[in-house]
């Protein structure tokens, strides 16, 4: 049984902060499909449609029939531990710093035998639940954990490495005025967050979240993502102890390009949703990247809340969608720039929400802030890169993957004249 992870002591200021090391990153292009699935918490295998063989490791031709019609399919997560070992010496710096490390071979119910990181609570020859998780290099690796959850299972060092668990971590929500800020703060506190900081733009204006956030005991700090100096000031104050940053700042107004007649709201959308994200990244990114190996409460994730209209333009939010596409593109740039430090960028895509008043005229289904809070916590606990929250977001994702042009065509229907 795992021992509960105590809240870390205050850092010894005389000690050097440990620099990040990483597990091996190279993968074949075929293996990248497994990583792509791991990024959203799915367990997949290569499948040969000519001989029905489930293949592992991924390759360019079937090892059974040499067929090349290989697809990626979700598989069952069950398996059995057939052999295991605990490693006490490794030439890889990443593992040297984390020894001993348990690994083993698992016979998957789907067929293949895989090599996996094995949770210490898994007993010999036991049935296991296999997940594909992203490691600190951002690549998919197999994790075998007990079939039935054990107490404090998530507190094991191995699990902390293969997640962005908010427990004991200090979290910065960038905008207190977001309709989702209270529910996010609540969900994160419930998940064991040590401390929550919340940026508050324009503290000269009252807003309904103020009282709720105050009751939750979060730390409110004056910051506006459109004000470069205020972002740098707050980054100067808390950038060195922000373990997870969740960008809740968002500006949205309905309207396409022609109907608005000017670029006023579009400028605000870009200033907050696009440039705001960039200002946050420039101010907080370096200090977070420097602390990705800083013990139990190391910097671990950067979370963007994005409308799923980032994938394809969705009227009547045509101009807003463009800002989301821009923000999505920045998130990909950040993935590249954070990769060496091992800082995870998690994008949470969602459709219209109940709480955002600008979605008032849209019919259900809508996402609630509570659902968004649960999705963020679940994504962090599983170390995901892409989270799709709610039916609309999942539907968009599936249609986009099936054919982006078809989705675009469906989202750009005309109207019959009178």
């Amino acid at each position: 049984m795992s021992t509960p992870l105590p809240r870390p002591k205050k850092k010894d200021p005389q000690k050097r902060s440990v620099a990040a090391t990483r597990p091996p990153e190279m993968r074949s292009r075929a293996a990248m499909h497994l990583t792509a699935a791991a990024a959203e918490g799915r367990l997949v295998m290569q499948y040969c449609s000519e001989c029905d063989e489930v293949l592992y490791p991924p390759r360019d031709a079937c090892s059974n029939c040499l067929g090349t019609d290989l697809s990626i399919q979700d598989i069952a997560s069950g398996g059995q531990l057939i052999a295991e070992t605990t490693i006490h010496a490794s030439p890889r710096l990443f593992f040297r710093e984390r020894l001993p490390w348990r690994t083993g071979t698992i016979k998957l119910d789907a067929g293949p035998v895989i090599l996996a990181h094995v949770h210490p609570d898994v007993v010999k020859h036991a049935r296991v639940h296999v997940e594909h998780r992203l490691d600190r290099a951002g690549q998919g690796v197999f994790l075998a954990r007990p079939e039935q959850a054990t107490p404090h299972m998530e507190d094991e060092p191995m699990m902390r490495e293969l997640s962005a668990n908010p427990k004991h971590r200090r979290i910065f929500l960038t905008d207190a005025k977001s309709p989702h800020a209270p529910a996010l703060a609540q969900a994160l506190l419930k998940a064991g967050a040590a401390e929550i900081f919340v940026g508050e733009p324009e503290s000269w204006r009252p807003h309904p979240n103020a009282a709720v956030l105050k009751d939750l005991g979060v730390e409110i700090l004056p910051m506006d993502v459109t004000d470069e100096a205020s972002v740098r000031k707050i980054a100067g104050e808390i950038g060195g102890k922000t373990d997870i940053l969740i960008n809740t700042a968002q500006f949205m107004r309905p309207g396409g390009i022609l109907s608005r007649g000017d670029t006023g709201f579009a400028r605000d959308e870009l200033d907050i949703n696009y440039l705001g994200l960039m200002r946050l990244a420039q101010a907080f990114g370096p200090s977070m990247c420097a602390r990705t190996a800083d013990g139990v409460n190391s910097a671990v994730a950067w979370v963007n809340l994005l409308s799923v209209s980032a994938l394809t333009n969705a009227q009547p939010f045509g101009a807003f969608s463009a800002s989301q596409a821009g923000a999505y593109s920045i998130s990909q740039a950040l993935r590249s720039e954070f990769r060496s430090a091992g800082l995870r960028v998690m994008n949470v895509f969602f459709g219209p929400t109940e709480e955002d008043e600008w979605y008032q005229q849209l019919p259900p289904p809508k996402v609630t802030s509570q659902a968004l809070g649960r999705a963020v916590v679940d994504g962090l606990e599983r170390g995901l890169e892409d989270v799709w929250c709610g039916d609309i977001a999942k539907d968009f994702r599936d249609r986009f993957r099936r054919d982006p042009k078809v989705l675009e065509r469906e989202m750009t229907m005309g109207e019959d004249g009178a």
Binding site: E202, S203, W204, R205, P206, P222, D224, T226, D227, E228, A229, S230, R253, D262, G264, F265, D268
Partner: protein, 258 residues
């Protein structure tokens, strides 16, 4: 010596005091808030261009952005629908001699201290005139409320039914414009109208009557408590913005030291 040289030497020797009536342009300074579906007043922002670094090794500078109506600012007649067809109604067209002139200060600070929705009425103006004399034509009239000493949430004083801050009644503005032919009206609050000014007939009477008659407005002033009731001279020149409806500006008052 010429009058101008006398004037310059009086400033140099302190005989004439220069009072700064301007708030610092600060990203955190409140601006007027409209219903969110309307276009909004841009806040003051500074973005660093370089800071003696790789972006410019020996110099530091910022790009700034704001609305014409951000911070301590000037309202031209073209700002309001009632003044839109007037000649010379934008900041670049106004005769520059209008930017220098005498000030009458009506002290409403006691009333504003007691009542957030304090109104400047015709009676208050007439009571003031009984002591200080009739307001001369072509004068700037300032409504002193000491509102500029408020900071943060207290400044706009935004409640669920909108902002609450002092201002003139429609009759008072009409009186100043039609009976006294003033040049402009200056306040310490975010607008020349009261916080609840939308509920008057006409809505926003100060904007409506002043600008409809080609008069000017000054908002977000401070240090009005350093001015005498009469005798101070205003220097307030807006930026020369083509077709501009207003402008942030440095507002100075010249006060004779007694």
């Amino acid at each position: 010596m010429s009058t101008l040289m006398d004037f310059a030497s009086n400033i140099a020797n302190g005989q004439t005091k220069v009072v700064d009536l301007t708030h610092t342009l600060d990203p955190d300074f409140p601006v007027i808030i409209l219903p969110p579906e309307f276009g909004q007043c841009a806040r003051f922002r500074m973005e660093e261009v370089s800071c003696y670094d790789h972006r410019g090794p020996a110099w530091k500078w910022y790009n700034i952005s704001m609305s014409e109506h951000t911070g301590t600012h000037f309202d031209a007649p073209a700002h309001w629908i009632s003044g839109r067809n007037l000649p010379n109604a934008s900041v670049d067209e106004i005769d520059v001699k209008n930017f220098i002139g005498p000030i009458c200060v009506i002290d409403c600070s006691d009333g504003a201290n007691r009542n957030d929705d304090f109104e400047l009425t015709v009676d208050i103006i007439k009571d003031w005139e009984a002591i200080h004399g009739t307001i001369p034509a072509n004068t700037w009239v300032f409504m002193r409320t000491d509102w500029s000493k408020r900071t943060g949430m207290e400044y706009l004083n935004m409640k669920e039914d909108g902002p609450h801050s002092p201002g003139p009644t429609p009759e008072a503005v009409k009186f100043l414009v039609e009976e006294r032919d003033i040049r402009g009206f200056g306040v310490e609050t975010v607008g020349t109208d009261a916080g609840q000014g939308a509920h008057y007939i006409p809505p926003y009477p100060a904007h409506f009557y002043l600008h409809g008659a080609g008069k000017f407005g000054l908002q977000c002033l401070c240090n009005l408590d350093e001015l005498p009731a009469t005798g101070a001279v205003l220097m307030a020149a807006p930026l020369k913005i083509k077709n501009g409806t207003g402008s942030p500006l440095r507002v100075l008052a010249l006060v004779e030291n007694k």
